[in-house]
């Protein structure tokens, strides 16, 4: 079990007419030093992580865990366009930024973190994988806290990006950098607890897992538009204690983390189940229980 003690959040829907939001000013504001040649993915990670730890008591041995489906997608697509269409060798800074853990390096440097620093991917459930890694390291005492981020940037043109994400043409696209500072169960100042982080092999296994929930408790449930597309059965509709939670987010791989943070900000008190499907028929779920009456804002 993990206690949530701080959150950070940066999100925007992509306006097809305006293009991608410029992150430079917000990233500069979030940084304690001037970083050169960082890409947009790293800028987003710096913004969200800095928001999360602002005012929080971050332990010196805190670990850093970033989950993302595509990592630095904007930079890597540019490298491939230049390399494959024009035969250009990647520039050193661009090549380094294709490495998924570059953002983690800059976040660690910005926040003074010197300990475990992992990048992990698992499709739209990357935040679940990051939380699972954090829980294991906290469980073995390797770290006393974990700063867990889910960072997903959109890339133009949007029709290409929708193709990558398996979304229908015209689907509204979002992007975001969502962060949780988590600590062992029983931590002071925690305002929510994550009690379950599970991987279920198929929809039948999801159904069986839902069977084990307390039918007397009302749960709120959040599914991304893509996860809803992947869910064939009525295993959610058949359970009256499950009520939909709509975080009002566009479609993107960070939807699960964005929904979790919006729920915590809402002040609702029922436990939240976030479910993310992957491209292999599995489902990944997180159960979060808000504590007390604290309404928070990132």
């Amino acid at each position: 079990m993990l206690d949530i003690i701080a959150i950070g959040d940066q999100y925007q829907a992509v306006d097809p007419d305006q293009g991608l939001a410029n992150m430079r000013a917000a990233a500069t504001k979030a940084c304690r030093e001037r970083f050169r040649r960082i890409d947009r993915f790293t800028q987003m990670a710096l913004i969200g992580s800095a928001q999360c730890i602002e005012g929080a008591d971050v332990k010196p041995d805190a670990g850093l865990y970033i989950g993302s489906r595509f990592a630095s997608l904007g930079n890597t697509t540019k490298v491939h366009e230049q390399m494959i269409c024009r035969g250009v060798v990647p520039k050193p800074a661009s090549f380094i930024n294709t490495l998924s853990n570059s953002a983690g390096y800059f976040v660690a440097r910005n926040l003074g973190l010197r300990h475990r620093n992992l990048f992990v991917s698992r499709g739209d459930a990357s935040v679940v994988a990051a939380l699972q890694l954090a829980a294991m390291d906290i469980g073995t005492g390797v770290v006393s806290q974990a700063l867990v981020g889910a960072v997903e940037e959109a890339v133009l043109p949007l029709e290409h990006h929708r193709f990558r994400l398996g979304l229908e043409p015209g689907t509204e696209i979002g992007e975001g950098s969502h962060w949780l500072l988590v600590a062992p169960e029983g931590s002071a100042d925690s305002f929510a607890s994550i009690t379950d982080m599970v991987t279920l092999v198929d929809e039948q296994a999801l159904d069986q897992w839902l069977d084990r929930l307390d039918p007397a408790t009302e749960y709120r449930v959040s599914l991304s538009p893509w996860t809803q597309q992947r869910m064939a059965s009525s295993c959610l509709q058949n359970r009256p204690m499950l009520k939909d939670f709509d975080p009002a987010l566009a479609a993107y791989p960070g939807y699960a983390a964005g929904a979790l943070i919006r729920y915590l900000q809402s002040g609702e008190k029922s436990p939240l189940i976030v479910i993310a499907a992957d491209t292999d028929g599995r489902f990944h779920a997180i159960v979060t229980w808000p504590k007390g009456d604290l309404t928070i804002s990132a």
Partner: protein, 391 residues
């Protein structure tokens, strides 16, 4: 020596493994090549799709299909096949065992091929990165072998599978599972080869780790797989005793050359394993033959050890297999230990007086004891593992 029970990591044993590399297919072939007196020279590889001709040294595997997707699958088939032949997990076990995967390339070669083909067919509609590269290995492990458990696609550059091993041990230590699978894969692709070429990190012809004439690294491809299982601390075999993974924010492309951060991760690994520096019998160095890495690693070893134990690098033989070197090199050391010797440091012939230390130039007779393995990567990621061989 402290008692094994003082380790802060629960005992975990390497119960099975498999490998395919430029040295051969399977552990036996790899060990035979490592202990052979014949120098292992890399191939020359021409990168055909660039403005100017690029030719690089490369440790390629033999017998692999040419297409990127088939090559990735073939590499997995070889390594997982050897592992399952040693320890045939039931389908029920496979369905739930967590899978920790490390790589630097993932599906990037497949993405390159598809984009290149699309661009050739119609540049107007071609989509760069038309697939989710991180899911390619996990998907094949699920479809081909039934590994449907929680998967972790770790990418921390050259420490990816060293970190995967630590996370796999943590999964067992926290009771998530009694077993955990670790898979590392690196395969040929233009992005990586051209990227290292552009950074001017590649050697002219071959790797010479810790050698006075060292001039860079040679990349390699391969796949390693390792099954870790819960065990008792006195079980015979090769156990993961502990390890550490830290972030060095000195530079995104190199550890602090004064060795301080490398020393820190080795010291943390010793501490977490409950042992002292003098308990280490030998060190498998990261040893990439780049001036910065070898300088920093030598300085780090001198900081931690009053007398630096015998050490060696495997990369001149295997090539630098980037994200998969953690599992490939660890399983080879684990396979060599019961045979009573460790290989000489390939590619080394002339000591560098600036380093103050030199790797072993002959195979080393070894026995039961603790062995340290170092892995360092871009992004400031430093990892050290400690394995214990016991009868």
């Amino acid at each position: 020596m402290k008692d094994l029970n003082q380790s802060t990591t629960a005992p975990v044993r390497i119960v099975a493994s498999g490998i395919i590399s430029a040295l051969g297919n399977g552990k036996l072939s790899n060990l035979t090549a490592l202990f052979s007196d014949t120098a292992i020279a890399p191939n020359r590889l021409s990168l055909l799709h660039f403005e100017e001709p690029i030719e690089v040294p490369y440790h390629a595997v033999f017998g692999a299909p040419e297409s990127a997707e088939a090559r990735l699958h073939w590499l997995l088939d070889q390594a997982i096949g050897e592992l399952l032949a040693e320890h045939p997990l039931t389908m029920d076990q496979r369905a739930t065992v967590p899978v920790f995967i490390g790589s630097s390339c993932w599906g990037i070669g497949i993405a390159e091929e598809r984009y290149r083909q699309q661009y050739h067919d119609n540049p107007e509609t071609a989509i760069p990165l038309p697939l989710d590269g991180f899911s390619q290995i996990s998907r094949y492990l699920q479809q081909q072998f039934g590994f449907h458990g929680a998967d972790f696609a770790l990418n921390t550059a050259c420490t990816a599978t060293a970190n995967a091993i630590l996370s796999a041990a943590a999964a067992i230590g926290t009771g998530v599972s009694d077993h955990a699978l670790v898979v590392g894969l690196e395969t040929r692709n233009d992005t990586t080869l051209a990227g290292f070429h552009g950074m001017q990190l590649l050697a002219q012809d071959k790797m010479r780790p810790f050698d006075r004439q060292r001039d860079g690294l040679v990349l390699g491809e391969g796949c390693g797989a390792m099954l870790l299982s819960k065990c008792e601390s006195d079980d015979p075999g090769v156990l993961l005793r502990g390890g550490a993974s830290n972030c060095d924010t000195f530079s995104i492309s190199a550890s602090n050359p004064d060795g301080s951060t490398i020393a820190a991760v080795m010291a943390d690994a010793l501490d977490r394993s409950g042992i002292e520096p003098f308990d280490i019998q030998a060190i498998k160095a990261h040893g990439t033959a780049t001036p910065l890495n070898d300088n920093g690693e030598a300085a780090g070893m001198c900081r931690v050890f009053d007398t630096v134990p015998p050490f060696f690098s495997l990369k001149a033989a295997l090539g630098h297999t980037l994200g998969s070197c953690g599992v490939m090199e660890t399983l080879l050391v684990a396979a060599a230990l019961p045979k009573g010797r460790l290989p000489a440091s390939a590619g080394f012939s002339e000591p560098d007086p600036c380093l103050g230390v030199a790797p072993i130039s002959q195979p080393l007779e070894v026995g039961p004891g603790n062995y340290l393995l170092n892995f360092f990567g871009f992004g400031g990621n430093n990892s050290s593992l400690i394995i214990r061989y016991q009868n």
